[in-house]
């Protein structure tokens, strides 16, 4: 059952991504991208990251993609003729991206056991249950504190520094966006 759901959404995600790449209308591309993101959100939930799945929909689809659409509309570039590159580029794309996917997709062979074997100091100790103690602890924390609580605690304790950095990052982005986009400063 879980497998069926996973592969269904996986197929949807790939289809959405492919259409996003191939659709000549930017608005259509954005829509297809949206579908991919939805599919991914579903997969996140399936993989036990419920909060992230929801945030995915909220932040990505609800905020970021909307901004994209907004800019597309603002600039009124939707009706331009196809911006797909010519056949030479297509060939290069197929070759390069093909090689890339071949190299990266080699990761499909990973099973938990193999991952455990990679991480463990010696093959004899490659027991997933022991190697992945942190994962199990996190699941227990989720069970005990709920999906938000399980993430909130580390976010504001262990990951306090990066969290603060993101605030500065957002500040910089805001200043930058204002400086660049405002008509008169």
């Amino acid at each position: 059952m879980a497998a069926f759901v996973f592969y269904l959404f996986a197929a949807a995600a790939v289809l959405g991504a492919a259409m996003c790449v191939l659709q000549r209308n930017p608005v259509a591309s954005a829509m297809w991208l949206m579908s991919t993101m939805f599919s991914l959100a579903a997969i996140f939930i399936l993989l036990g990251a419920e909060l992230i799945g929801i945030l995915q929909v909220l932040v990505y689809v609800g905020a970021i993609l909307v901004v994209f659409l907004f800019v597309i509309m603002l600039l009124n570039v939707a009706r331009t003729s196809s911006d797909l590159r010519g056949p030479a580029s297509l060939g290069a794309t197929v070759v390069v991206a093909g090689l890339l996917v071949v190299e990266l997709a080699a990761l499909w062979q990973y099973t938990p056991r193999r991952l455990a074997a990679d991480i463990a100091q010696a093959p004899a100790f490659a027991d997933p249950a022991r190697v992945f103690a942190a994962g199990a602890a996190a699941r227990q924390a989720t069970a005990a504190q709920g999906v938000v609580g399980a993430l909130a605690a580390p976010l504001f304790q262990t990951y306090l520094v990066p969290f603060e950095v993101t605030s500065v990052l957002l500040l910089a982005a805001i200043i930058g966006a204002v400086v660049l986009a405002k008509r008169n400063i």
Binding site: A17, S29, L40, F68, L151
Partner: protein, 102 residues
């Protein structure tokens, strides 16, 4: 340990989506679409994080949170830049944006 972690399939899907994003960057000339493809790549990476977070705890998920923030920040700045260039060239087609070369 959950029954079905989909580790391998998730990583493979992540790779495929990433590569599709890369292909989009290669194929498209519209700066906005290009940037959307980059977002697709980030999403693919997020999937990898989530898949791996099943084994290593909250770090992966928190990382995805940060990535989303970064994506938002990039989107803000990136779209501002695209607006700026549009003011000069009245186009977001990268083929027309090659004053700097050589």
């Amino acid at each position: 340990m959950p029954e079905n972690t989909f580790l391998g399939p998730s990583l493979a899907l992540s790779a495929i989506l990433f590569s599709l994003g890369v292909a989009g960057v290669l194929l498209r000339r519209n700066a906005i679409v290009l940037f959307m493809c980059v977002e697709l790549m980030l999403n693919a990476v997020n999937l990898a994080f989530i898949a791996l977070a099943q084994f290593h705890g909250a770090g992966g998920q928190i990382m995805v949170l940060f990535v989303m923030t970064v994506a938002a920040a990039e989107a803000a700045v990136g779209l501002a830049i695209i607006l700026a260039i549009f003011r000069h060239t009245q186009s977001v087609d990268l083929q027309n944006i090659n004053l700097l070369r050589g």
